[in-house]
Amino acid sequence: MTTAACFIIASRSDIPIYEAEVGSAAKREDAAQLPQFILQAALDIVQDLAWTTSAMILKTIDKFNDLVVSVYVTDDHILNIDDGIKSFFQEVHELYIKSLLNPLYLPGSRITSSHFDTKVGALARNFFCSRTQYRA
C-alpha cells in the first residue's frame, strides 16, 4: 500500500494556483494526470456545496474508486482540495493567508514560493505519514 496525497489549491475561477504531491508513494508516470482529473472533476461538486453549506471543511465529497476527495473552502471561496485532517487544512490555510499578505503576490496567480512548498510538504508528512491509503 502506498501513502500519497495530492494537494491542490484552486482559485475561484478553477485555476490551480498551487499543486503538491505529498507522501511517499513512488509517482507513477502514467497516472500523473489522474489526481488532477479527479480533483478537477470534484470542483463541480464543490461549486454546488460551497454555496449551500456554511461548513469550511467538506469531507469526502467525491470519490473515485478508492481515492477520496475532501475540500476545505476558504472565506473568499478559494478552494483547497485534498483529503485530510481538519488541522492540516487549517495549517495550510494559515500558510495561504500568509502568502496572500505578500504584497507582491497577485491573488489568483500561481504560488511559486519554495518556502510554501516545503512548509506544505512538512505539514503533509506530519498528518499523512501514518495513513496507508492512496488518496487524492
Partner: protein, 1332 residues
Amino acid sequence: MADPASTPLGKMLLEEITPVVMVLCTPYVEESCLKNGLSLIQLLSPFCDFTNIDVPVRTASDQPYRLRKFKLRLFYSSDIRQPNLEVAKERLKKVITHVGEKNFLESSDPSQVNNLLSRPESEMLPSWFQFFNKELVRTLSFSDHEAFDHPVACLLVVSSKDDEPVNRFVDLFNTNKLPSLLNDGAMDPKIMKHYLLLHDNQDGPFNKLTLVEAGEAQFQANLVSIHAIQDFLICSAWSRDSVDNIINKKEAKDLYRATKLLADMRNAFGQNDCQIICFNSSQDGKIHHQDNPWAPFKSDALPTENLGCFLNLDDLNEIKDFMQELSSKHIIPYMEQKIRVLNQQVSATRKGFRNQIKNLWWRKGKEDTIDTPNGPVYTFNSIESQIRILGDYAFMLGDYELALSNYRLISTDYKLDKAWKRYAGVQEMMGLTYFLLDQSRKDAEYCMENAFNTYLKLGSAGRRNATRCGLWWAEMLKTRDQLKEAATVYFRICGEDTLHSAVMLEQASFCYLLSKPPMLHKYGFHLVLSGDHYKKCDQIKHAIRTYRSAIPVYKGTTWSLIKDHVHFHIGQWYALLGMYDVAVTHMLEVLASTHQSKTTQELFLRDFLQIVQKTGKTFEVLKLQLPVINISSLKVIFEDQRTNASAAAASVKESLWRSLEEDMIPSSTARSNWLELQSKIMPRKYKESNICVAGDANSSNNEVQNNEDRTSTSSGDINSCLILSEVDFSLEGGETTVVQLTVTPRIEGILKIVGVKWKLSSAVVGLCNFEFNPVNKKVVRGRRKQHSPCSDLKFLVIKSLPRLEGFIHSLPEKTYAGDLRPLVLELSNQSKFPVKNLKMKISNPRFLYAGNQKELNADFPACLKKKMNVEKSGRHANVNKTLQNLYHFPEDISVQEETSLSWPLWFHAAVPGNIPLYITIYYEMEGVSSIMKYRTLRMHYNLQVLPSLDVSFQLSTRPSRSQEFLLRMDVVNKTSSECFQVHQLSSVGQQWEISLLQPVDSILPSQSSFAGQSFSCFFMLKDRRRSSTSEDSIPSLSHIQSDVRLGPQDNSEAFFDVSSSPLADFHDCERSSQGMSSQVVNFLALTFFICITINQNLAHAFAFIFFLYQGCEYKVDFVFITQLPKGNSDSSSNTPLVFSHHACDCSPSSMSPISWLVDGPRTIQHNFSAPLCEVNLKMTITNSSDAIASVHINTFDSPSSNNKPIDDATTSQPPEHQSGWSEIPIVNDTKIITTEALTTRVPKSLSLESVPQFIWSGTSSTKLVLQPRSTAEIPLQICVFTPGIYDLSNYVLNWNLTPVNDGENQGEANKSSGVCQGYPYYLSVLESNFKD
C-alpha cells in the same frame, strides 16, 4: 410527472417485458417466407405491436379494465434459451464498432463549452445509447429466475406443401427439441398452442375465402368428394365460370387438399386453435412497400433488397388480422385465465394469517438445507414459481397492483430461502412496478438499489444482471431528473467488461452534461475515462471521439497535466489510425509546455517525431513551439552607410559609434540633404523603410531556447534573388542559444523579413512569423525616426556599393600593461569601385595609434632605437593628426577596386584592465550611388591587459645643489610568471641629464625582474638648463645623458628613442589622459628589466634622504615600460616585446617642509642573557621652509595603533596580489606606491618573533622649534628584548609652521601644519652566543 408509461423507461419496459410466443415452423414455411427476404418471425414481427388493441380484461378481483397497448415477442424455439455470452458480446461489439465508424466520420467538434450546451438535448445525447442499452438488456433474456421471458404461447406453423401437415404439427412440438426451459422444469411445458397452416400462393393460387368456405361446407356435408365441393360452390352462388375454373384446373387438387388439411387440423387440435393463411399472392414479386414495416426488424438489409416483395395488401391485412386475433382472442384471455387460476392458488396457500404463519414456520424449518449459491431450485409447480409467474403475467397485462403484491410476497420468501438471485430479480421488478405505478419514488429507488447490490453480491454470476438493473435504475433516475445520481449509477455499472464500461462512462458523462447546472468538469473527466476504456478495447475511433468532446471542457484552463494527457493521446490515436496530419496538430499542443518532467517530455517528443516520420513528408507548422523562439530578442543587423567589420562590432551600442563618428562623417545639414535626396528618389511609402545594399548580408539574431532535449535544425531556403543562410545547431534541454541567420539580397528592390523557418530533427518545419508579435520587436540599428515595427523589417535594397573590410593583424587578445608593438591594419575593397578620402578614428588613442606608411615594413624593435642622424624625425608631425583622435589618411591614399591597403598602427597597452577598442573608418565612394555617398567601417576589439610592472618615482631635491635631484624608482613585478629584462631609463626632453647613483649590478645582478619582485634604484637628475646658466657652458647633444642604460653595461645596443614616434606620441597621450595640461618639465623614464632576489632586496635596506626643497616647481612625468625577452611569453612572435611605462608630472612639491632622517646602527649583536639591549638612534630634522616650525615627535609602543596604515596596506594586499587584476594608479602618487611596495614585502621577511616588538625608551613625546632652514638633532632610544628584525616606523611627526612674514611664500602659508608618519627603519638584532 408525465405518465410513466410514456417515459423512455416506461416505453422500454412495455416493449421488453411482454409475453413471449414461441414459434415452431417447418423448413418449407421458412422457404416461403424467405422469398420476401424475411424469416417467418421477421415477417410477423411488425404486426405484433399493438398500440390500441382495446381488449377488455378483468383483474383477478374482477375489476374490468381495457388493455390499450400490447406487444408480443416472437422467438424461435431454438432462441428460447439464455443467449451465448460470447456471441452476445460479439454482437454488442459489432454494434459499437458500427456506431463508431458512423459517428467518427460525421462528428464535428464543438469548440466551445457554450456551444455544447446550447444544442438541444436530443442532439447532444447520441441515439445509439438507447439501442445499445436495449441490446445489452436482451443478452439477459430467458434467465431461469425470471418468468416474463417464459413463452406464454406456442405458435406452430406448417406449410401446405409439407407432407402430412397434421403429423408435422405433432412432430414440431417434440419435447426433445423444445427449449431447456420447458424441459428442465423451470416452466410448465403445457403451454397454449396455436396452429397455423401457411399456404404459399406461388405454389398454387387459390382463393382463401373459397378454401375456408369450402372447408366449412365440407364439414357440414361431411363429404369428401370433389363433386360435393363443386356443388357447394355452385350453390353458394359463385359464378359458374370461376367454379369451373377452379375445378378444371389442376390446382383443384390442392384446394381439396388444403380443405382436407384444415379439417384434419381442427379435428386434431381443436376448433379455434387452427388457422390458415395464404400469402405471397403477388405473382411477379414486384410490390414495393412505401414505408416498409419490416425495416426496423431487419437492420442489416441492403437498401436494394425489396422486403416483402411478394406480399400484396391483402396478404398484409391477413397477417395483421391473424396476429390481432391471436393476441386478443387467444393469448390475452389465456393469460387472464391463468392469472385467475394462479391467484386463487396463491390465495389459498399463502394469503391469510394462517398461511403466513405456516409459511414462516415452514421456511424456518428449511434453514438447515444446503445453502447453494442460487438458493433452492424452484420448479414450475412450486408455489414460489407460481407467485412469480402470477406477478409477471399481471405486470405484462398492466395489472401492476397485483404484480406488486405478488412480488412483495415472493420477495420475502426468496430472502428467507437465501435465493439471492431470485430475490434481486424480484426486487428489480418491484422497483419497476413502483415506477410504473408512479408511487413512492423512494421505494422504487430503494428496490432498485437493493436489487443492484444483491446482484453485485453474487459476484460474476450477477454482474450482468446488475448491469441491466443499473441501466433501468439509471433510466428511472433520469426520468426523474436526478441526473447526477443516474451518472453515479452508470459509473457503478462499470465492471469487468471494459467495452461496456466505456459506453456506460460515456452515458454517465452525458448525464453530467445534462444536469442542471451542467457539471462540466465531471463531464470531461468521464469522457476521458470512457475514452481510456474504449482504447483498451481497440475502439480507437470512439476513444478519439470522446477525448475530442472533452477538449472544450479543458480549453483555457491551466490544468496542464490534463491538457497534455488529452492532446497527447488524441494525437497518438490519430496516428494509430494513420491520420497523421490531425495527429500532429494535437501533438503540437503538448510540446510547448514547460512544466513536464524530462521523461514525459522525452516520451511526448519521441512519439511526436515518430508520427511525423510516419507521415513521410515534412510538415510546415506555424505554431511549432519547439524550440521556443524569443521574439523579443530578435535583432536585425543591417548595414546602410554603416558597415561592420565583425559581428562584435554590430553588437556595440549605436550611440557609442555615433559619438565616435560625430566629427568624422558629413555634418547634420549634409545628412538632411541626403535624406531629402532619398525621399525624392524613393516612393513615399518606402520612405521610412531601412536601406540595405545589394550584396551585403543582413543578419538577424534569434535567441532560441530549448525546453526539450532534442536536436533542432534551423534552415532557410534559397532563391535567385536572395541568398539565405542555413544554420545547424542542436540544443540540450533548457539550453538557450543565439542563432544568427543572414540574408544577402542580390538585386535591388524591397526586402522584407517575414519570419524564420526551421526544421526540427529533419522532420518538422516550424514557421515563426515575426509580424505576429509586433510589440516586442526591436531593430538594433534602426534609424532615429520612430518606425512602425513592420517597417523595421522592411528594407530598400539599393544597388551594390563598395564595402571595405577591415582587419587588424595580430592584435593580441591578452597582453601585459606597457606592451608596445606595431600592428598592421588591412583594409580590403572587394567591390569594383575605388574608395577614397579615408579617415580613421580610434576610441582610445592611449592604446592604438595610426603610424606612418613608411613604418609599415620597419624592423621592430630596431625602429624604435635611436638613430644618430635623424633625431627629431616627425615627432611633431603627428601631433596635428592625432588631434581629437581623428586620423586623416594622406590625400593620395585610396583603396582601389579589388585591392587591399595595409596601414601601420602602433599599439601600447597603457593601463591594465578589460579595454574595448572601437575603430571607425570613414570612406567615400565616388559616383556609385546618389543615395549613399560615404560609408563607415566599424571595428571593435576587446583587449585584456594584465598588470605587469608597477613603477613609481620619487623625486627629491638635493639641499646643497638646487639643480640636482635625487630620483628614486621603485619597481614591483606584479605578474605571476614573467621575468622582465631591464633596459633603460630616459627622460623626455633634452634638458635633463640622468645618471645612476650606484651600479645596476649592485641592485640587479641579473638585470631582470622576476615575478613578484620589487626593487628600487636611485638616480641623479640634473637640470641642464640651470647648470648651463650657472656654469655657462652648453654641452653638446652628443654627450648629454638623457638616457641611462640599466641593462648589461657592456651591451652596445642603442637606446630606444623616446623623442620620436611612437614613444613620444604615446607619451603625449598618457599625459593628456592623466590630466596634465602643459608640461613644465618632461621626464621620461624608460624602464628596464631589473631583477633582485627578495633577500638581496632586504640586505640593501636603505634610507631615504630628503633634501632641502628649493621652492622651485619641477613636474615630472613617469611612464613605465617593460619588455619580455624572446620566446619568454606566450605570444607567437619571435621578436622581443617592448613594454613602456609612463609616469607624468612627478614633482618634489608634494613633500612636506619638514624632513627627517633616522640614523643609527643597522645591525646589532647582543647577548640576550643580559637584561636589556638598548639601541641609540639619532633623528635629524630639517626645516626646509622659510617659516619657523614647531615639531612634535610622538612615539608609540603599541604596534596596533600607530602601525595601522601599514597594517591596512598589508592586509588589503594579499601576498599573491601580483597576479591579481586591480589597476593601481601609479601616477602622481608615488609615495603611497613606495610604501606599499615596501610594506608588502616586509611581512614576508620579518619573522613572527618580531611581533612583541620593542619599546621606545626615554621620552615618548618630544617637542622642538626649528628656525627657518635649520636642522636639529634629537636622540632616540629603544629597548629590544629578543633578537629579530624591527621596523622602527611607529612614530609620528606633527609639525606646525609659523610664518615669519606673511607677504612671502604664499604657497607655504597654505601648508601650515601636518602630520608625518614615520618611515620604515629596519634594525636587525642578532643573538651573540659566541660572545660571553
